[in-house]
Symmetry: C2
Subunit: 244 residues, 2 copies
């Protein structure tokens, strides 16, 4: 999907693998073919008709043909039901056996296990993620209450932080602008003020602008870290390093 997000997941996969030699690192293949996958948010918002699931399933098919056994997508929005469910259906229809981790479900399972006392969870994501209620539905299903940003915060602190040609993460990520980091941090405080006990960075680009694992004492959850840990624990559990 976004090339930065794929790179970020690969970096976490390597960093969280405990090893002293190149050869001991977990083998992986990173597909970074952004022009081939229609914008997930645009599809969910109805701005374009082509379901990105077709392109995504095609890439998974190629991976499976190369011997890949477990895979993940470095894009929260692609886990919305209308996209993710069709991906699975297309692969099943072709008889392709490839285990695909679900970033949202894994993230919520992690929160329940690591912070059992938390009842209200904040979510920061793209407009498409919020519109699809991707995290909301999954959190509610797990008996947790969702805290979402007010519309102005969503527009100015998240959408602009991702897409602004001047300071947005998608345009300017090495390094991410201070403006982007400031806006994400403000949005986390906003969700805290609304009652969130933890905040999920529900768009893979947001962790690029927010490296800290907490803000003002509330945990900030990066789903890419969770999914990297799961990729390791499901393939080489003895190599999983303790997260910092």
């Amino acid at each position: 999907m976004g090339p930065q997000a794929g790179l970020d997941l690969a970096e976490k996969l390597i960093r969280l693998t405990q090893t002293t030699r190149d050869q001991d690192h977990i083998p992986f293949i990173l597909f970074s073919l952004p022009a081939s996958v229609p914008d997930r948010t645009d599809f969910l918002l109805g701005n374009q008709d082509i379901n990105p699931a077709h392109a995504i399933a095609g890439q998974f098919e190629e991976m499976a043909a190369m011997g890949v056994t477990i895979a993940a997508m470095a894009c929260n929005t692609a886990h919305a039901g209308p996209i993710f469910d069709l991906v699975l259906e297309l692969l099943r229809g072709k008889g392709i056996r490839l285990r695909i981790l679900h970033m949202v479900q894994e993230t919520i399972a992690h929160i329940r296990a690591a912070y059992p006392q938390i009842r209200q969870v904040g979510v920061l994501g793209t407009k498409g993620t919020h519109r699809s209620r991707l995290y909301d539905l999954a959190l509610e299903g797990a008996g947790l209450e969702v805290v979402i940003p007010d519309p102005g915060v969503l527009e100015n602190n998240i959408h602009a932080t991702l897409y602004s040609p001047a300071f947005g993460i998608k345009a300017c990520s090495s390094p991410v602008s201070e403006e982007a980091s400031y806006r994400v941090r403000s949005a986390i405080r906003h969700l805290h003020d609304k009652g969130a006990g933890a905040v999920i960075l529900g768009c893979t680009e947001l962790p690029l602008a927010m490296k800290d694992s907490q803000v003002d004492g509330i945990p900030v959850i990066d789903p890419a870290v969770i999914i990297a840990e799961r990729l390791i624990s499901e393939t080489c559990p003895d190599k999983l390093a303790l997260s910092d």
Copy 2:
């Protein structure tokens, strides 16, 4: 090869691509299958018999089958003649059409173009790189004089910096240890003292410990930056950002 080096090249490819949208980024596939490629240095030093060229050619074959048209290896040592030449021969033998950029040749072409006044060029690389005279032969062929580290510096400032389980880059790269950075910087000063007008970081892991483009005024050349720029200029020249 080393997973960090592959990630580093991918990061440079993305960073040096000028674009404002995900979809405009150059499509790429990163193979990070370190256990499948025997250690290049071990082979060149005669410590093991299997030429890594066979595994490398197999991976290039898979890439070509997926539609890849141009490729590079994030490993200087793999460009030594005994490995690189066999890779090309194996691919030719199978009729595979894939353009593979030569990191060493591209780096030297860059130095000649960017610093025409420089006659002596320092090289820091693995023992295998030095033993194979990879950069030496290519630099001499280009009419340049090679400056290599003294044996003690090679052992303590380069080999140890790469392979030490305590502070080496291969074991400890996120972040790289201060000890590793200090030793690389010292080695650059050592080559400067010996007359080098520029220094090539001739092992893909060294730039992880040395981010500056110069030390005490002498240019420090990262072949991964050169190769990332070439991958862009050969595929989407209008998207090549100016290097910083």
